[in-house]
């Protein structure tokens, strides 16, 4: 009976339809991660170097396992990689039993930016930084502003050849006072950051990093002596959010923050408030309490306004009132330097003295319009303000 049905025209069509259904379901459920290996698009016109030619820089934090496997020890993902495969970040690859940093010396974005845009508000206000990035990231936030480079691998974007010396020269040539590793995720191009930072310090440039904080303690500890300022994205205060929306872990980021405090680094925190996902007052209060207890009350904290981007295409922007409520919660928790981000013209773009209340640094958007600090102290009442001012 079944054979007769299947051999008929209708049966065949039915079979095709069924197959189509299965196929569609398979596609939908496969949840293919964003990266699907290297795939040069035909539209790329600039030649990118062959993969083998990148295998020059051996990675700094990994261990060799048997059968030519390696385990990368840079970030909490701790990818165990068989020969020929790359980690979740896409830029660290096992070639013949050794781990290589594949994006070393191959930045895809280099530009001169104001430091306020990082945002780093307590780091020599008003100066220009040379911002750079390579491809790759160890997370996959669905609201990533720089997904075109963070969710890609080597060879999938246009890259430049730029060894560390060239970057430092470029920074000096363009009149930048610091070099900033940002846009994608600097932790994953660790070796590049490390070499550039050491060189930069020799040449009198400052350095900073804008990171998701998803890095292991030891690599961070070794890098810190060469970094002047760090900006960490504390994306939410819930493991559920981190898992579902970014693919990471809250715990690891909190550990990073504690380590930064321990090592006396200058760091600032940004919390991007996304409506319905991480904007509950309870969560924000918990976060502020944790910061106060573990990091102190003088860590600059920025509450940033979300705008639809990448996969979160139609969620409305954060209501300004929500941001202001968050600021109030942080103020009440005793945090001293709380800012609003992505709302140009708001009074909380400026820095006020926590003691006498006077405006220390007034900002309009990214422009610094006045600076009332003298030797790192409030000009009016003498309070020492944390930060790097010279």
């Amino acid at each position: 009976m079944a054979e007769k049905f299947l051999s008929s025209a209708a049966g065949k069509r039915g079979l095709m339809l069924f197959a189509g259904l299965i196929l569609s379901a398979a596609i939908a459920l496969s949840g293919k991660p964003a990266f699907s290996g290297s795939g040069e698009t035909a539209a790329e016109t600039r030649a990118t170097p062959k993969v083998e030619a990148r295998a020059e820089k051996e990675a700094m934090f990994y261990s060799k396992l048997k059968d030519n496997f390696v385990r990368c020890l840079l970030c909490p993902n701790k990818c165990t990689l068989p020969e020929g495969s790359s980690g979740i970040c896409r830029v660290r690859k096992n070639i013949k039993g050794k781990l290589y940093a594949m994006s070393y010396g191959k930045p895809c974005s280099v530009s001169l930016e104001p430091i306020e845009k990082a945002p780093l508000y307590h780091f020599k206000p008003g100066h220009k930084r040379l911002a750079l990035a390579t491809v790759g990231c160890n997370l996959s936030c669905i609201f990533c502003q720089n997904w075109y480079i963070s969710q890609k691998g080597p060879g999938e974007v246009t890259e430049y050849d730029a060894p560390p010396e060239q970057i430092v020269e470029e920074a000096l040539r363009q009149g930048a006072e610091s070099i900033c590793f940002t846009f994608s995720e600097p932790s994953v191009f660790y070796e590049y950051v490390y070499d550039i930072s050491r060189l930069a310090k020799e040449k009198g440039l400052m350095t900073s990093i804008v990171s998701n904080g998803f890095i292991n303690p030891e690599p961070l500890r070794q890098l810190l002596p060469y970094l002047d300022a760090v900006k960490i994205d504390l994306k939410a205060f819930s493991e559920k959010f981190y898992r579902k929306v970014t693919g990471g872990e809250l715990e690891a980021v909190l550990n990073t923050l504690k380590l930064l405090k321990e090592e006396n680094a200058h760091f600032e925190i940004v919390n991007l408030i996304i409506p319905t996902l991480n904007d509950s007052p309870e969560e924000i209060a918990e976060m502020c309490a944790w910061i106060k207890e573990n990091l102190g009350d003088d860590v600059p904290l920025h509450f940033s306004r979300f705008s639809p981007t990448y996969k979160l295409t139609t969620l409305p922007p954060t209501p300004v009132r929500t941001l202001e409520d968050a600021i109030k919660i942080a103020d009440d928790a005793g945090l001293k330097y709380v800012y609003i981000g992505n709302v140009p013209g708001h009074k909380r773009n400026s820095t006020n003295c926590p003691r006498c209340g006077k405006t220390l640094i007034s900002r309009r958007g990214f422009s610094v319009t006045s600076n009332n600090l003298k030797d790192g102290k409030c000009k009016f009442c003498g309070l020492s303000i944390p930060g790097i001012w010279e």
Partner: protein, 756 residues
């Protein structure tokens, strides 16, 4: 009895078109207005109808108590329709995505497939079982009339349904109310079929229930409940269908958000300050004295307010849908109140391009506020033809400005190609163009005279005009106009292979869809790269290959069946493509005017009816199906060639010189003609098919399926690949080629039969 079936067929036609259009609109909102999804939704609808018609229908007809099952299936369909609406609205809650997260092709495909399944599968089945039962009602009549008559009545019902829905119902009733109305009509038709029997009580009761739900609070509650699920976490204030689309207004913590077709358009009272200020101030500061300004869409919600700071003499604002401003006034904020009540503002409720064409005025600055040419409707503001029009309405030294998606950090290939395509279109009409990169969007300015990108000059102008804005400082302007960065972006555009964007060849839409795809389904990226390279020889070869498969089958089987299948299939394909082409072209010339689209569909359906009736007469008089079919195929090929000639790019500009009513009549005639061909071919082919097989329900189903499958392919391939990338003229030529092939195949297949 037979006549009752015909009445039923009409109701079925009405149900089908209503379900199709309504579910299309619902899914479009759920997919955030993604136009590519239209092709997928239509295609899936057709596929499921085909499945229902060729699989379920014959099974139903052959079952023992088929009449009762038939009634039961009708009742099931009437329930399935509102269920489909429900699914279309709430499916996102079952996905692992979060609220506000966009969807990729596979998600759209599966979601539309599953939402449409209950309704379209059943609807398809009802057609074939209706044919069968209609035939049984009168044993003396040959089967062929049965199918054609049902088809014709169904088409008439479709016609009536389409008009009523578009002109009357959509604006006045919500989706559930319409669904219950359709249910009521279906139950009433069943009642008439069963009249006199005891079992007629069931449909009578069901009809009563449907009426109760329709007139009572049931439909209204369902509507609000399901609408709210789409915006959980936000308060849904409005959810309205206008003749232009769907508008939703939500509120959270004092912030209002306005969505058009599911896509975010305005935020008040705190807009994206950077976007608004850059868009308004940079172009106006680049002009020494902007007195008369035109804003085409995207003005309300902050930009207008910033523009007024420059002290213009007049600001004309063209916004297509009056409901947008009406709702802004209904939920007033300080932002919208002040800008909308300014005396210098003159609002025109008209499509911006149409307004520009008609106005005798000239402007100092023209701003178009669309941010992404992702739909055909919006693409019309980013084409050579539009830029030529705008250039003619600018005074000396006047500036045109608009935005395109972009990023300061990096320019990925899809974005780069979209930007390049539009830029090259811009350069055809303007001597000087400038690109100012930005976060989220790039700003373009164009003028016949030199555009001085000088931070110093702009700051001076800002001070002279006493403009206080959040972003505009000397520091900021220096950063924004950094020469090195500008140059780097200019250079990156040079490497793009993109062709200039045109009305009848919407490359920007293609790249926009490719860009969206790169975000959500990067696995399909290779497919898009492939599609981008589609050209005439390639497409023609693919068509030829498919033809060879059918030719081989025909040769092996020594029958006319494969030839008939191919001919109906390719006509279905052609029909869908003609449909899209005419809508596309009409949109390109006139913009989105829903009533006119309804008229075009109506004209097409009328053609189908007339063609069907004509053929029925012809067959009844004993006309030979074979030769008539051949003539029809040849005529279709010629028609396609005619369209190809009409759609050549240059003709667009010439066409607009004709008086409006002449041009619109031409559109109606062309739609009518394309419907005529399709309507005529089905009964002809069917009569021919039956001579070979003898079975009725199965035959009707198979050919119906072929027709619908062809349409499916036309919908998916047409909307995405053929029309944007090949363009209208070449797509038409391709159809002509395919029709010639099917003509040849049919000729040889029938000749061997005739001589036998």
């Amino acid at each position: 009895m037979r006549k009752k079936f015909l009445l039923y067929a009409a109701v079925m036609g009405l149900s089908g078109i209503t379900a199709q259009i309504l579910l299309l609109r619902e899914l479009l909102v759920s997919f955030y207005g993604n136009e590519f999804s239209i092709g997928i939704i239509l295609a899936n609808w057709l596929l499921l109808e085909a499945a229902g018609a060729s699989l379920l229908g014959p099974a139903l007809a052959r079952a023992r108590k088929n009449f009762s099952i038939f009634i039961g299936a009708t009742i099931l369909f009437s329930l399935a329709f509102p269920f489909s609406i429900y699914l279309a609205r709430v499916f996102k809650n079952f996905l692992p995505t979060v609220q506000g997260q966009g969807l990729g092709i596979s998600a759209i495909f599966c979601a539309s497939f599953l939402s449409l399944l209950p309704s379209s599968l059943l609807h398809g089945a009802l057609f074939t079982s209706c044919c069968e039962l209609h035939n049984r009602g009168g044993e003396k009549s040959p089967g062929v009339f049965s199918v054609s008559s049902v088809y014709i009545f169904e088409a008439a019902g479709t016609l009536l349904g389409g008009i009523t829905l578009s002109f009357l119902l959509l604006e006045r009733l919500n989706s559930f109310e319409i669904a219950f109305l359709v249910a009521f009509l279906n139950f009433a038709a069943c009642f008439f079929l069963l009249k006199g029997k005891r079992s007629s009580l069931i449909p009578a009761l069901a009809a009563g229930a449907a009426l109760f739900l329709l007139l009572g609070p049931g439909a209204g509650n369902l509507h609000l409940l399901t609408a709210r699920k789409q915006w959980s976490g936000h308060e849904l204030l409005e959810y309205r269908n206008t003749i232009y689309g769907n508008i939703a207004v939500t509120k959270r913590s004092g912030e209002y958000s306005f969505f058009l077709d599911g896509s975010l358009a305005i935020t008040a009272p705190n807009p994206d300050i950077t976007a608004i200020e850059e868009f308004a101030h940079i172009p106006l500061l680049s002009h020494p004295s902007p007195r008369d300004i035109l804003v085409i869409s995207g003005g309300a919600g902050g930009a207008l307010g910033e523009i007024f700071k420059h002290g213009p003499a007049s600001v004309d604002y063209a916004e297509l849908d009056p409901a947008v401003l009406e709702l802004l006034r209904k939920y007033p904020t300080e932002l919208s109140e002040s800008e909308l009540s300014d005396k210098r503002l003159r609002v025109k409720y008209l499509d911006g391009r149409l307004f520009l064409k008609k106005t005798p005025r000239k402007y100092d600055v023209i701003l178009t506020g669309f941010s992404d040419p992702s739909t055909l409707q919006v693409n019309r503001f980013f084409t050579e033809e539009f830029f030529g029009l705008a250039a003619g309405k600018l005074r000396e030294g006047g500036i045109l400005a608009f935005r395109l998606p972009g990023s300061l950090t990096y320019m990925n290939p899809e974005m780069r190609d979209m930007n390049a395509s539009v830029r090259r279109a811009l350069e055809k009409s303007f001597a000087e163009t400038a690109l100012i990169p930005g976060d989220g969007s790039h700003l373009y300015m164009a003028s016949q005279g030199k555009i001085a990108l000088s931070a110093e000059k702009m700051m001076k102008a800002a001070n002279d005009r006493s403009i206080s804005a959040n972003l505009i400082t000397r520091d900021y302007l220096d950063y924004k106009l950094n020469g090195r960065r500008l140059q780097r972006f200019e250079e990156s555009l040079d490497g793009s292979p993109a062709a200039p964007n045109r009305d009848f060849r919407a490359m920007a839409v293609f790249y926009s869809v490719a860009h969206w795809n790169a975000m959500f389904d990067p696995g399909f990226k290779k497919a898009f790269t492939f599609i981008e390279k589609i050209n005439m020889p390639g497409a023609a070869s693919a068509a030829f290959f498919i033809f060879l498969l059918f030719a081989a089958s025909a040769f092996l089987r020594k029958g006319a069946k494969p030839a008939l299948f191919f001919s109906i299939f390719s006509t279905g394909f052609a029909g869908m493509l003609f449909d899209l082409m005419l809508i596309f072209a009409f949109q390109a010339l006139y913009g989105y005017v829903f009533h006119w689209l309804g008229l075009l569909v109506t004209a097409c359906m009328s053609g189908t009816v007339i063609g069907g009736l004509w053929m029925k007469r012809f067959i009844e008089k004993g006309g030979e199906g074979g030769p008539a079919l051949l003539k029809l195929e040849a005529a279709l090929a010629l028609f396609a060639l005619l369209l190809a000639a009409l759609f050549l790019n240059e003709s667009g500009a010439r066409a607009l010189l004709l008086p409006e009513f002449v041009l619109k009549s031409v559109f109606l005639l062309l739609s009518l003609a394309s419907g005529l061909f399709i309507g005529a071919e089905f009964p002809l082919a069917n009569s021919r098919y039956l001579k070979n097989t003898g079975a009725l329900g199965g035959a009707a189903g198979v050919l119906y399926g072929a027709d619908l499958l062809g349409g499916w392919l036309g919908g998916i391939a047409g909307a995405l690949a053929l029309l944007p990338v090949l363009g209208l003229a070449e797509s038409s030529a391709l159809i002509a080629f395919v029709k010639l092939l099917s003509f040849a195949l049919l000729f040889f297949a029938l000749r061997s039969r005739l001589s036998a």
